[in-house]
């Protein structure tokens, strides 16, 4: 079964490597990404990701529109976690401006960001099942995500590109009854979550497909700058929410409201696809706990700090990284005191995480290659920006 063993057998036969073009249109690339594989029969002997098919000049746009006007564009790079993107960008600008955010706004931001994390991980869960041929978990995941999107629709009016968290706070307060619906969502989600685990995560075929596949050792993960579930799947206890807390997370960590799931190599080697998947699935439940904490502690109050109508950001620069569902989403903004940014750099976690494919996708079977791409859980909108 081991790839190297097969390779030895193959060496007796004269074979020729074949170039296999996976993508830009391929069901496993989760968007328009192309991976040029060199294959020897079913064995992938080399892979090279080619990006840029979805490049939309987000950083250049950031240098051309006003600070607040850039907000809708942040929705669009990691479109599965738009709330987190809004949060990251807003925090970066706030960091330069040095303004204080009202507590209720922070609560709403945290609730939304964590709900969005659940939604994003649900997609990761569902599409990973889809990559491995299990179609039904995908639709179950969408069922819960649909509710999450309906919640966002109620609070901000949009289902995918929210533009809800803004510089200085949030746009709207929660409508009446919204918080109790979030609570109901949490209760239902906890039950459904168990089904996800039974249906896919602990399925024997699934374990056999993902355990020992695409192993990323901790050292390699750090060298490649991987963050998020990829890093934690390799057993490195690193989560910005816990280690460099921002917003309310310092309090939440102090209360012990959530823990950081880590890959343990339970069914195979530490850092394999199963571990990464496990981290994502477990994180969904931790996010529910965070949302619950916020619901317990939220109090009425202002939802936006005092900021001028036409935003002028003082000259300066800041880098703010937040924990996106896919890893560290960094925004590096430079201002010269005007209405428009000088530089609006986005450090997309998908972009960085994807780089590891070149090294991991060697000596694996074609089916494993799909499993590895799926386990990095990239959003092509973010890799290409």
């Amino acid at each position: 079964m081991s790839a190297s063993g097969e390779r030895e057998v193959m060496l007796d036969v004269r074979t020729q490597d074949m170039e296999l073009n996976m993508g830009p249109q391929h069901p496993a690339t989760h968007g328009v990404m192309r991976i040029l594989c060199r294959v020897d029969g079913e064995l992938v002997t080399g892979a090279q990701p080619h990006l840029g098919y979805l490049h939309r000049c987000a950083e250049k746009i950031g240098e051309n529109v006003e600070w607040l006007q850039y907000l809708p564009y942040t929705d669009r790079y990691d479109y599965l976690a738009a709330m987190n993107n809004n949060l990251g960008y807003s925090m970066a600008v706030e960091s330069v401006m040095g303004i204080e955010i009202p507590r209720r706004a922070q609560m709403l931001r945290t609730i939304c960001a964590e709900l969005n994390r659940i939604g994003s991980h649900l997609i990761a869960f569902g599409t990973y099942g889809l990559d491995l041929g299990a179609i039904t978990p995908f639709l179950y995941a969408f069922r819960e995500r649909e509710w999450m999107m309906a919640l966002f629709e109620k609070i901000c009016g949009a289902r995918l590109t929210y533009s809800y968290i803004r510089i200085g706070g949030v746009f709207n307060d929660a409508p009446p009854g919204w918080l109790s619906e979030v609570e109901r969502f949490c209760d239902v989600f906890d039950e459904k979550w168990k089904e996800y685990v039974d249906l896919l995560m602990l399925n024997q075929i699934f374990i056999k497909r993902t355990a020992n596949v695409g192993v990323i050792p901790a050292k390699m993960a750090i060298d490649y700058g991987l963050t998020g579930p990829l890093l934690r799947g390799s057993g490195v206890n690193w989560d910005l929410r816990q280690d460099i807390p921002y917003e309310l997370y310092a309090e939440i960590v102090k209360d012990g409201a959530f823990s950081i799931p880590l890959g343990s190599g339970e069914h195979g080697t530490l850092g394999d696809c199963w571990d990464r998947f496990y981290v994502r699935v477990m994180e969904m439940r931790e996010s529910v706990k965070i949302v619950r904490w916020c619901l317990d502690n939220i109090k009425p109050g202002p939802i936006i700090a005092e900021i001028p109508k036409v935003l002028r950001v003082p000259a300066g620069e800041a880098y703010v990284g937040i924990e996106n569902p896919r890893g560290e989403l960094g925004h590096y903004v430079v201002s010269d005191g005007g209405k428009v940014a000088i530089r609006c750099r986005v450090r997309g976690p998908s972009f960085v995480n994807l780089a590891v494919l070149e090294e991991v996708m060697v000596g694996v079977l074609l089916g494993d290659a799909v499993a590895i791409i799926g386990s990095t859980d990239i959003v092509v909108g973010e890799t290409d920006r």
Binding site: V65, L68, Q69, G157, T161, S163, P175, L202, N203, Q204
Partner: protein, 194 residues
């Protein structure tokens, strides 16, 4: 492969298959959660960011929404007649619009909103440039107001001219006083129009 692993593999496979089948089987017997879309529709929340609508009577053509738009998809054009507006166009290009709602917040009169309508289908691209105006030109009330205001103004001016002429005839030193009276009169007529 040891015999125990061999047997464990078989047992685990069968077991997890049965667990999976019990979950999917459970849902097979439940009522689906989807709705038959064109016949049934899910409720749309009030805050939904759909196609815009404009309360034209309130709008003062201040361009705040157009300036707030990140992609400049709002274009408006109106001719001012004193305080009254003669509307030419107020278009939103839905090929560009990304429904971010940034145009709604800066409005000083709170007159542009996003509705709950979302379906917008056409075979022709030009139809996606949507005119939000409910009427073009001037509203009848505005028109009458304008005519009234103009008539008033005219009457006043005539009166003033007559007065001025009379005063000029009487003494050439009272110009300042007549100017002040004119200003205050104009202010009143504007208030009335609003």
């Amino acid at each position: 492969m040891s015999p125990t692993t061999y047997i464990r593999n078989i047992v685990h496979s069968v077991k997890s298959t049965l667990i999976g089948m019990s979950i999917t089987g459970k849902y097979l017997l439940q009522k689906p959660i989807t709705v038959q879309y064109p016949d049934e529709r899910l409720p749309i929340p009030n805050r939904y960011r759909g196609i815009h609508y404009l309360e034209q009577e309130k709008c003062i053509d201040c361009l705040a929404c157009a300036r707030a738009c990140p992609i400049d998809c709002i274009e408006m054009d109106a001719v001012r007649h004193g305080k009254e507006l003669e509307w030419v166009s107020f278009t939103l290009d839905y090929q560009k619009c990304m429904f971010c709602e940034l145009c709604v917040y800066p409005c000083p009169k709170d007159c542009i909103h996003m509705g709950t309508e979302f379906a917008f289908v056409s075979e022709d691209r030009s139809e996606f440039v949507h005119d939000l105006l409910s009427y073009k030109g001037m509203a009848r009330e505005a028109k009458t107001r304008m005519i009234e205001a103009e008539a008033k103004k005219k009457a006043k001016e005539e009166a003033k001219e007559a007065k001025a002429a009379a005063e000029a005839a009487a003494s050439p030193d009272t110009d300042d006083a007549s100017d002040g009276a004119e200003d205050s009169n104009q202010g009143e007529s504007e208030d009335g129009a609003e």
